[in-house]
Amino acid sequence: MSDYTIIGKRMPRVDSRAKVMGKAKFTADLKLPGMLVGKIKRSPYAHARILNIDTSKALALPGVKAIVTGKDTEGVKWGVFAYTRDQQFIQTEKARYIGDEVAGVAAVDEETALKALDLINVTYEELPAVFDPMAAMASQTELIHEEFPNNINIHVNIDTGHVDENFEKSYYIREDTFVAPEESYFQAEPYAVLARFDHDDCLEVWCPNGGPHMKSKPLSNSFKIPLHKVKIRKIAIGGAFGGRSEICPADYICALLAKKTNCPVKIVFTREENTIATRQGHAMITTHKTGVDKEGRVLARETTCYMDGGAYSSTGPIATSVPFLSMEQAYRMGSVRYNGYRVYTNKPIRGMIRVHGRGFACGLDTQLDMIAEHLGIDPVEMRLRNSRQPGEYTSTKSYVDSCAMDETIHKAVEASGWKEKWGKLPPFHGIGIGTNSVQTGFPMGIRGGSQSFIKFNEDGEATVMSGVVDNGQGNDNMLVQIAAEELGLLPEDIHLVSADTETTSSDPGSYSQVSTFVGGHAVKIAAANCREKLFEVASKILKVDPGNLAAKNRMIFVKDNPEKCVPIKKVVRVSLLNFNSVNAEGGYWPKVDMKREWVSNPYGQMCEAFSFGTTIVEVKVDPDTGQVEVLQATAAQDVGYALNPLVLEGQFEGSVAMGGQGGMLTEYHEWKDGRCLNPTMLDYKLPLACDMPKIKNIIVESLDPKGPYGAKEAGMSIAMSAAQGYSAAVSNAIGVHMDSFPLTPDKILAAIKKKKSKAD
């Protein structure tokens, strides 16, 4: 592996210079001539019929340029899947959560736009609302969506068979229920969108997005214009974490206002809007019934999960499946039956979030620890007995090729000092382990592949075109690193044109952890193709067979005689003089089972690679306050191959913060009748610098045969396993297995007291 010049190195990111100088432009930073300020009127009722909207007073306000309501939309409903088309971008009949879009305003400045919002008079008829999935299923009042009986939006059923008979064979069976509330992304950048129609009536849009091509399609459909007329532009993005992949009603409203006013319009969300009117993580109530043999091997499992989906479908079928999939990938199970129900409630819309299903996953791990305790098995050993092995099939028939799950466990155990600590720590001092697996990609039909183009300029530098988007995780740098490595150039020689739907081909986006595996792969193939062309020309100059050539440091040279070389720049010029341009393309489509579908057929090859992670956490709990001090987190992940360890470590550390520290200790939403009580950064407790423990990063490499250079997803398995590790460590410290997440001090203190009173 050491043959690589640039790949595998701790390379500082190419985008960071502009960012430390304050030059990087985010959407809210943009200013176009004649630009108007857009604002959205939202429903203050959780469930209400819209009887009338009177915009006359608002329109009469000087400075107001346009108002749009549902009447401007033709009532079209949007959905990620054909069977989940349940959301209008501006509501015409009723509002289904506090924050639902009812109208949009464009005005000369923010003050005027806000005043106009107040002047729009909407007459509502309030309807009974439901805020809890169990109540929603039993509700006799008006359905949230009339075509979905019992307010059940999605039901995913997976059954491998033999579950009941395997329970009968089990040595020990237990059933436990775990609950977890909603959580939010809190991307640093509040959502923003700028839209305009250009001189060719093309729609140009700038917005933080998880994939520009995922935004252009619904906009093309809504405006009934061809795809080439929707130009999503590249822009710096202040975080996504799964919350910016789907079209946002604000995108449509902004574009509609731009169309109506013939001016650029910019909408910038407040922090509150970013919390309630984008997406949130699902609240979950999960019951795991697990049967094991004497050695603790899982023979049968039945998992039932009720997810609070909020008002609309979003990526519901995916969200209802992913927690299960992560579980079945990480652990072998003799047989399993899963019933996941995503239920509509009159709360904000729930979608994908970095740690998909934190509560679900933690419940499963907690139960494994309970079973281990009953059988007298160490939690590490319990995991090793059930851990996924390479060359196996998951319960839903995905072949797992590369897999170093056991190595992540062993290395994390070693680095954390587990053996010296487990069972030997003083009271209220605990250590816990979590393991998890994440898929590198989802089946996405025709949008599952990525294609890249590379052209050489006459100065020997190359322009790389790719649809891959950088949400902040470092995808731009990843593409540059790959192109430079393959072309034999330096990173500064690569000019990247990316994340723009006009100039790049379709790409799945920074979605389902697939950017490197698919988009990076496409660039690698394109660059290798381009290099072949250079070698053809160079072989004539150097008079050797192209097969004997290599490229590095802007030079093409003979492999066994590096002195014999020619600058790439010269090769490009020679090629041009011979009437041949130097460019190439390359594409990559993951070979997944195209027949696999989330609800109708949840079996078959899910994706080509799976990553595996282990996080071990050590904590001290204050027995008098229930406050947790996290001493250390050891994070180990099988990433296939580390293209850039510096960047990967950053992903691991961020994952510990969001998945563990925040996700398992302080982050959750509170509600009053569908109103989110903590939508701001003051009240939603994101971890701070002095809250974070020391983090030890361990990169494990398994060289995935399909991944570019052997790489696969990196970071997400840590986010998931960190949540589990945190929860296990606290449980270990207080001697109580916790079943309600996150583990806030009040719950911890109550558990300590309950245990004490039982003992007395």
């Binding site: 430390v20 304050g22 913060a657």
Partner: protein, 169 residues
């Protein structure tokens, strides 16, 4: 509510601007002067993304009236580098991988820069405390803390520290 002409000294340059009493310094920097490096993330003084210096002290520009910034030396993230020459701190952020999405970076740099002015070799604990008013959602803070601790401290180096940085020349 009349608008008022004021002059602001920003990054050692004078600017004449006309502001309303309810214009915050952040709004004037971003909307009038196109100094968009300072960011608005929470708008209520919690996240620190809008941090700028007033007379070398970090303040939240989202809770500072532009009128009240008169007569101070204001420094924004755009003023940290000397032309194209990055400050040691900026370079250290790059070298240590302290920048991910980059939205909190300007505020984080301004808080860190103020710390380094009073304490050129802060230890990890001091640094974490000094940055506790700046929220980052991407990094888990580990690399930011490293970058600050190593920015100007010749005794605390790691393999990610650029070798020619702080060589004493």
């Amino acid at each position: 509510m009349d608008k008022i002409d004021i002059s602001l000294n920003i990054n050692d340059k004078p600017f004449e601007v006309r502001v309303a009493p309810n214009d915050t310094l952040l709004e004037v920097l971003r909307d009038q002067l196109d100094l968009t490096g300072s960011k608005e993330s929470c708008g209520e003084g919690v996240c620190g993304s809008c941090t700028v210096h007033m007379d070398d002290k970090p303040v939240r520009s989202c809770l500072t009236l532009a009128l009240e910034a008169q007569g101070c030396n204001i420094k924004t993230v755009e003023g940290l580098a000397n032309g194209d020459d990055l400050s040691d701190l900026q370079q250290s952020f790059i070298d240590h991988g302290a920048v991910q999405c980059g939205f909190c970076t300007p505020g984080m740099l301004m808080s860190a820069d103020a710390l380094l002015k009073s304490n050129p070799s802060p230890n990890e604990e001091t640094t974490r405390k000094a940055l506790s008013g700046n929220i980052c959602r991407c990094t888990g803070y580990a690399k930011i803390v490293e970058a600050v601790c190593h920015a100007a401290n010749p005794h605390d180096r790691c393999p990610d520290c650029k070798t020619d940085n702080n060589s004493g020349e």
